[in-house]
Symmetry: C2
Subunit: 362 residues, 2 copies
């Protein structure tokens, strides 16, 4: 077994996803929803990590205004394991801030960083992949490790990373990463898929905290300067004030764009553990167990001749007749009816609401 | 002009239609809904009649428990023009009761009897047809006149009547009726349609009140006996008590089955006035004005790629994406999503609710 005594998980819970409207709202993003389970996505994420790490080695980063919800959903989480950002600035600042906290706890800290809102169906294989990546980072402390997923179809909704040279470590295999690629067009996705060289970028990374901070210093010097200001007051009076000031100044940037695409020493460990980023209602439909009519039914709607649909009703009575391939999500004050092939356009609805008089439904 | 001094309209408002659930409810049947107009169907029906008859020659028959709603929707209606049935027993008792009241007012009274919940797009032609039928009844006081509608397609949702011998009256034409036919199968409907002999039975009839009472005596003697008990106390103490007792005893029966199909002297005047019985949500869709996407939109739903659909939203936000040929009706406590080709199955939903724990939604 890999030694995990200085290994910490950092669950990034700052997402503001609009793809699950009307169930997700500005004040209730996807990670706090039960979509496939009685557990919410963040609860399921932490539950998996708890099988690998002691509770006090699990950190959560959330924005200030969602901290209450994190605390409510994760009763076991010690308040000093919840890192609060004043507001979301994408993953690079979030990871930098977490790295500061962890380095202070242990200079040799290894960070497993992962989004709070992904679905993983095979926990054992997931934990094996994390263990492998941690072991790899212990051997190569200057590397940044990504968890890559063998694609099962030419997805256009995921970023990719291209495998380069393979190498062995501890009787396992990993690859150097040649390139990162943003979400591709359908044509490019087919090329990626058929080449066999590309893996999905899961957004799950493992690295030594000092290493990622060195990369931030090199590749995102503005952010690094801000982080150093924060570090100077870490655990002291003035921390919140400096944090707020720095966060107002720094740019919003993803770790992928800010570091991973440019870093010289990136490796990838392959994982095959039923991963999905649960990016749309249609994805939820596909991942969920279906009844004999191919439906996923939440609540107690009245159905007649309904097939291959996702139907979620709340307190109101919902009746469907002669329906196929729809997503129907009914909440107290808002209702979505969307073709399964068009659930990416739920974002359009949310944008539309943002620029309307109906902002209370966001 | 036909002399209308002894002519009365009787609007039958006792329907308990379930086909417009969730907008129609047990306590709010179709005739009280605005489906195609700001006016409710019963308001529109009375408005048309008011162009032909003085207000005090218009009667409404409703059940006791819907009388309050009738009064609320028809503020001009004098209370002695509202005939209250203890409960609905279909059209034959309703018509018999109205006939008693009218004969008492005028022994030579002619009754135009019609459902409260039909749609008529061309009022002038409708009133011409009624005038013709009244003129015919003045010439043939022993006849029962039906208003028949030239079919525009092989409808299976309407009853038919078969024209026999044609005859002229007052430079107009009418036909003796050879037979009445219930709602046909699709095959039979095609035969009816292509034969040219059949007209839709609109459920609108004109007759002398004494004549229909004579037919009731001959063909529905039990009902007639009950009516005579009521007549004996009409306008006197005990009326309500006798009415209740008689209504508990008499059979529920339609005038079509009880009288029209068996009567010897039935004639038909043809009408062509954009008539529909508005029998389903799909019918409402077809009758209503559509926007550029072929949609009928009530309320302020958010739509993207929605075509050929009927969408009615209330106070909640309703968003539709990638939808075709649906009926979506959202009310405070219940929601219907139904394919336009299957709106006849809304009745199924209501039946299902009747036999469930969800009767509060009826």
């Amino acid at each position: 077994m890999t030694d995990l005594s200085h290994t910490f998980a950092v669950v990034m819970a700052g997402g503001v996803g609009s793809r699950f409207w009307p169930k997700s709202r500005k004040a209730l993003p996807k990670q706090f929803l039960s979509l496939l389970d009685k557990r919410t996505l963040i609860q399921a994420t932490c539950k998996r990590l708890q099988e690998m790490l002691p509770q006090d080695q699990i950190y959560v980063v959330s924005t200030q205004d969602q901290a209450t919800r994190v605390v409510r959903q994760l009763r076991w989480l010690r308040s000093d394991r919840l890192i609060r950002e004043p507001f979301g600035k994408n993953t690079a600042p979030c990871i930098g801030l977490a790295a500061l906290h962890l380095v202070r706890r242990s200079p040799e800290a290894v960070m497993i960083v992962l989004p709070a809102d992904h679905h993983i169906s095979e926990t054992d294989r997931f934990l094996q992949a994390l263990n492998s990546a941690v072991a790899l980072i212990r051997q190569q402390p200057k590397a940044l490790a990504a968890i890559g997923i063998e694609p099962t179809y030419p997805a256009t909704g995921y970023g990719y990373l291209q495998r380069g040279e393979a190498f062995a470590f501890d009787h396992r295999q990993a690859w150097r990463v040649r390139a990162f690629a943003e979400k591709p067009t359908p044509e490019v996705a087919v090329q990626f898929f058929s080449s066999g060289e590309f893996l999905w970028n899961s957004g799950i990374f493992v690295w030594r905290c000092r290493t990622i901070l060195e990369y931030l210093e090199e590749l995102m010097p503005d952010l690094y300067a801000g982080l150093m200001e924060i570090e100077a007051v870490l655990g002291r009076a003035g921390y919140r004030r400096v944090l707020n000031r720095v966060y107002r100044q720094i740019r919003s940037e993803s770790i992928d764009y800010g570091v991973m695409e440019k870093a010289s020493n990136v490796v990838v460990v392959e994982g095959d553990f039923g991963w999905s980023d649960v990016g749309s209602w249609d994805e939820v439909y596909k991942l969920a167990a279906k009844d004999g009519d191919g439906n996923v039914v939440v609540g107690e709607p009245v159905l007649k001749d309904v097939h291959n649909s996702y139907v979620e009703s709340g307190r109101r009575l919902v009746a469907l007749v002669g329906i196929q391939d729809l997503v129907v999500v009914d909440t107290k004050d808002a209702l979505l009816i969307c073709h399964r092939n068009q659930t990416q356009d739920v974002k359009w609805v949310v944008e539309k609401l943002k620029h309307s008089e109906k902002q209370k439904y966001l």
